[in-house]
Amino acid sequence: MSSQSGIFNSSIGRKIAMALSALFLIIFLIQHFTINVTSTFSPETFNSWSHFMGTNPLVQFVLQPVLLFGVTLHFVLGFILTARNRGARDVKYVRYNGNAHSSWMSRNMIWSGLFILFFLGFHFYDFWIPEINYKYIERLPADETRYYHEVQEMFHNPVRVVIYVLSFIFLSLHLLHGFQSSFQSMGARNPKYFPAIEKFGKLYSILIPAGFIFIALFHYINSL
């Protein structure tokens, strides 16, 4: 036999890498949501948790780079795979009845993904860069109470709120296929427990983005 290419050069290897990064991001999203949601009922908790996340060296210098790597891997692989997949059919169908056999979400992961990527860029520009600037470039003094106010201020702007809401709708669509798909890619499918995974995935994909939308709207309405 010809020599085996490395696992991540193979189609299944890439698929597994995609799934692993997805699962990691799914977990990250829970953590992110848990912290954010405290802002709707306890500004103190929100401030203290945010401060911990923003200053703890383990989070800052280990988890944050891992997260960055995970996000980058996920979308870079997404681009590569999509490009290859598109390239696997040079002559397109004149008529392709995709709805007959698959969901819109599953066929358009690249579009929902791109929208989310756009949002991430925005989020970086909007939140992460000022944050880095605050802490590591201008080296302003640590202020354990600034986070809640910053959030309130941000969602004062209706344009930002609309972007948030739209993005999380796309995230929901992305997750509706992506959640169960990552389990399938890892080979975790069995008639006994897979329906439960699918059900949980659906709940997750709707509730978590809905929660983020709720937070945005909550602060916006409060600011009126």
Binding site: S5, S11, R89, V91, Y93, Y96, N97, S106, Q184, G187
Partner: protein, 249 residues
């Protein structure tokens, strides 16, 4: 019934193709889709035109030779049915039907609706077998019992007819369902376990070389599969591949 057909015509692999319109009339609901195509071809021959080339052989839904993307779906709208078993009663008088070849770079067009699926043969040649000589001096058939559940699952995977509908349906033109059906069948049987890890790696490698796309778990393949091969086979192949990659040197 009378129908308008929009059929892909392409003289050979190296020439570009295009859709052509044809009218057929007097189609009976009891006819199979291929018998309707026979009528079209009789018409074309009468007129001195080149008949539409399409692959077909057993016309019983088992040889896997017939193909055709019908109204945007491989083997047409009926579930769990090959084109040869699709009957015209599924269509209405006045319908327009789009008929295209199975499209994928791994399936180059031979002529019109006939495509070359030898890539599937090469995937099997890469490892879709158990390396046993045909001496007949093997163990007695009953020497190794096979749990009924596994025997049944292996059988279900083995019913794949290699038609390529999975590739045709997949937005990525991926051949994962086909490949995984064979990987699964042999992985589920004790006699196939011996070579399981080498097999899955070799077959996946060949599948990638043939230019098929990657699986993104869309599930169109299983929905359109005339033999209803399950997505569980792909999951099993992913598992097999993962463990093979980890355990191999």
């Amino acid at each position: 019934m009378d129908l308008t057909l929009k059929v892909w015509r392409q003289p050979n692999g190296s020439t570009k193709g295009k859709m052509e319109d044809y009218q057929v009339s007097g189609i009976d609901g009891d006819m199979s889709f291929l018998e309707m195509m026979d009528i079209l071809n009789e018409q074309l021959i009468e007129k001195g035109e080149d008949p539409v080339a399409f692959d077909h052989d057993c016309r019983e839904g088992i040889c896997g030779m017939c193909s055709m993307q019908i109204n945007g779906e491989p083997h047409g709208p009926e579930k769990a049915t090959t084109t040869c078993q699709l009957h015209m009663r599924k269509f209405k008088n006045g319908d327009t039907i789009y008929i295209e070849p199975f499209r994928a770079n791994g399936f180059p067009v031979v002529k019109d609706l006939a495509v070359d699926r030898s890539s599937f043969d090469r995937i099997i040649q890469a490892g879709g077998y158990i390396s046993v000589n045909t001496s007949g001096n093997t163990l007695d058939g009953n020497a190794i019992p096979v749990e009924k559940k596994n025997a049944d699952m292996a059988f279900n995977a083995a019913t794949c007819i290699g038609c390529g509908a999975c590739v045709a349906a997949c937005p990525n033109a991926s051949a994962m369902l086909f490949t995984s059906a064979k990987v699964s069948q042999l992985a589920l049987l004790p006699q196939g376990r011996v070579e399981a890890s080498k097999r899955v790696q070799n077959m996946v490698h060949q599948m990638d070389l043939e230019g098929f796309g990657n699986c993104s778990n869309v599930g169109a393949c299983a929905e359109e599969c005339p033999k209803e091969i399950s997505l569980e086979n792909i999951a099993r192949m992913n598992r097999e591949y993962l463990s093979a990659s980890i355990s191999s040197e």
